[in-house]
């Protein structure tokens, strides 16, 4: 085993880890030894081939990490850049009302506001112009407005976007301003070491054990050879996300000191639903996400956003088979799409655990409230599609999933799409927004870290990722994760003399 000594190691390179790395770059420039350990490979943008089956490489479990009951699949990155490689750059600030609900002492919306502003500038967050509005987005807006649903623009962190439409398979030109394009190169130039293919298996006081694997073909090799290493550091920052950070702490026996460790997971359960428009609209061209509606955010609790996906994922989302699937997929270029993101409650029973092989398991059950929200959202989405001019819609939870207005026989969609016909494990429910597991809070009975991401009672251990969220963020989380990581970094810089001593 090789022993290596650092001042700071950061485990994970996504929105949280990448941000900490860039914020601490100044320390690296001053001579501190800092490294980012990433379990996945380091792919350059040239690796992104825009083909679904090939780009499963970017994801943990090919993008389908299943919940233990199989009813939900979670999609998150496993590569340098984490999930910022395959997100769409959708940029939301944590709503003030949600920050209040979180009720974390020492974390205020006014503190977050200045950080949001700073990050938005650094990440080139823009309001997309009219030229970025493809047919799916235009029709969503028109449909919503016709039936009195308000629509807002989604802000995006992109620069010189060529609107190729393959954001979720990695940006082939690196124009999406995720950590692979922005923070990690900046950190690396300042002297922060990026160590890919480095899976941390055990955490001890001020050291971790990790296995470095061979770089897969097509990826950039790291500086270290294959083998088992122990990385010693004065400060360890966990940024492996809800699954990664929770699982590492669970494996390292932290549960006995932190009873809520791994618990209170939320994940914005999501379903994508479709309308069939009478003319070809080719929604995979152009930028997939421009508009959203938050009209139903308080009750029943969901957002509607525009979306579009490639053929396989579309077929999966349609939740049809047989002639109906063929019928809908033969009209692939006529499909409109809306993604439903449900605000789920943080419940203690929804948690990350370990199986007998010490591998992470996502124990999550869709609540009745979430199921009701999905049904209501599908009813509203069908109204939007019909108002936009679609002849038929595909709503997986409907009595008849592929239906036209005529099939409703004068009924409202709300009575056609009910929890009675929402059958878990039949519905294609997915998530890309895992949150919680190492929640912030007052003390170790109700949380794992304080409001600065420092693990209670462990001055050498910080967390900087979505696992800090005490409840759902209600919105796409990357910017909030970066903001919390910014706070972690600020605290580390402010206390540097103490921990360096």
């Amino acid at each position: 085993m090789t022993h290596l000594h650092y001042d700071v190691i950061i485990i994970g390179s996504g929105a949280g880890g990448g941000t900490v790395a860039s914020r601490l770059a100044a320390l690296a420039a001053d001579g501190l030894k800092i490294a980012v350990l990433e379990a996945g490979p380091h792919f350059s943008k040239e690796y992104f081939t825009q083909r679904e089956i090939e780009m499963f490489d970017l994801f943990e479990s090919g993008g389908a990490f299943p919940s233990s009951d199989g009813a939900i699949t979670a999609s998150f990155g496993k590569a340098m850049g984490g999930s910022t490689i395959m997100y769409s750059g959708v940029t939301f600030r944590l709503p003030d009302s949600v920050c209040e609900q979180w009720s974390v002492e020492g974390l205020s919306s006014s503190d977050l506001k200045s950080r949001f502003e700073k990050l938005e500038k650094e990440l080139h967050v823009i309001e997309p112009g009219k030229e970025m509005e493809n047919d799916n987005n235009r029709l969503f807006k028109e449909g919503c407005e016709k039936i009195g649903i308000s629509v807002k623009k989604i802000l995006l962190n992109i620069k010189n976007c060529e609107q190729m439409g393959f954001c979720n398979l990695g940006c082939a030109h690196g124009n999406k301003q995720g950590t692979l394009s922005v923070q990690l190169p900046a950190a690396s130039s300042a002297g922060v070491e990026l160590i890919p293919n480095c899976k941390v298996t055990d955490l001890f006081e001020k050291r971790v054990r990790a296995t470095i694997c061979k770089a897969p073909p097509g990826s950039l090799p790291g500086a270290l050879n294959e083998g088992i290493y122990e990385f010693h550091a004065k400060i360890i920052v966990l940024a492996g996300g809800t699954v990664g950070s929770s699982a590492l702490l669970l494996k390292s026996d932290f549960k006995k000191d932190f009873p809520v460790l791994g618990s209170y997971i939320t994940l914005h359960p999501a379903m994508t639903v479709y309308g069939i428009y009478p003319k070809k609209i080719k929604n995979y061209k152009g930028f997939p996400k421009i508009y959203y509606s938050s009209d139903y955010s308080n009750t029943p609790g969901y957002y509607l956003e525009t979306a579009f996906y490639y053929p396989f994922i579309t077929a999966k989302n349609l939740s049809l088979w047989g002639k109906d699937l063929k019928y809908a997929m033969n009209r692939y270029n006529n499909l409109m799409a809306i993604i439903i993101l449900v605000h789920d409650d943080a419940l203690a029973d929804n948690k990350i655990t370990l199986n007998r092989k010490n591998e992470p398991v996502l124990d999550y059950t869709l609540s009745d409230k979430s199921i009701s929200a999905f049904c209501d959202a599908q009813a509203k989405a069908s109204k939007i599609f019909f108002a936009a001019g679609c002849n038929e819609v595909v709503m997986p939870a409907a009595e008849k999933p592929l239906f036209s207005k005529g099939d409703l026989n004068g009924r409202e969609p709300e009575s056609f799409i009910t929890p009675k016909t929402f059958i878990p494990n039949k519905m294609p429910v997915a998530t890309a927004h895992l949150q919680g597991g190492c929640r912030m809070g007052r003390d170790r009975n109700d949380s794992v870290t304080d409001c600065w991401g420092k693990v209670h009672g462990k001055d050498w251990l910080y967390i900087a990722d979505g696992s800090l969220f005490p409840q759902s963020s209600h919105v796409n989380p990357y910017l909030t994760i970066m903001t919390l990581a910014d706070r972690v970094s600020e605290r580390l810089i402010a206390t540097k003399d103490q921990w360096m001593a």
Partner: protein, 158 residues
């Protein structure tokens, strides 16, 4: 048609399982005038290639569920699934999809998803649904086999 010299040999979908796969895939994605059905060597080969990459426990469950489908066919049409008529096969799959027992629903969802992946990542199917594919089609991938399978330029055998 160019002569295909390289061969992809199926590793997981073989013999009876391959027969079951063909039958299930043809029910999930039936042939129509626009495009072929899902039950073909081309679809099976893409699925087979991907199976090597999924965790062993998931692969085993998927393969086992194919056996479950084949044997459960006896209760729906008197024969193994692959020998039953189309109506019996559809009745059985609907029964599994909506079953009160979660394992049947999970199994069907899993198999269906693999079939959709195997079928809709094929480039000949892209043209059938008028999907243009990548904007940068010339980019190479580290494993040429899957590209060749999706482009139907490999000979496939059991």
């Amino acid at each position: 048609m160019p002569k295909l010299s390289k061969i992809y040999r199926l590793k997981y979908l073989k013999k009876n399982r391959l027969l079951t796969f063909f039958s299930v895939a043809d029910r999930v994605i039936p042939a129509d005038t626009n495009s072929p059905g899902g039950g073909s060597m081309e679809t099976a080969a893409v699925v087979d290639w991907y199976m090597k990459r999924v965790p062993e426990n998931i692969r085993k469950k998927i393969l086992l569920f194919l056996d479950v489908i084949q044997f459960t066919g006896l209760f729906f049409g008197g024969n193994f699934f692959s020998s039953n008529n189309i109506q019996a096969q559809e009745r059985q799959l609907k029964w599994m999809e909506n079953n009160k027992i979660r394992l049947f629903r999970m199994g069907f969802f899993g198999i269906k998803t693999f079939i959709e992946m195997g079928y809709y990542t094929r480039e000949d199917i892209w043209s059938a649904i008028s999907y243009d594919g990548p904007v940068l089609p010339g980019r190479t991938y580290s494993d040429s086999t899957i590209r060749e399978l999706c482009q139907n330029t490999l000979k496939i055998s059991e």
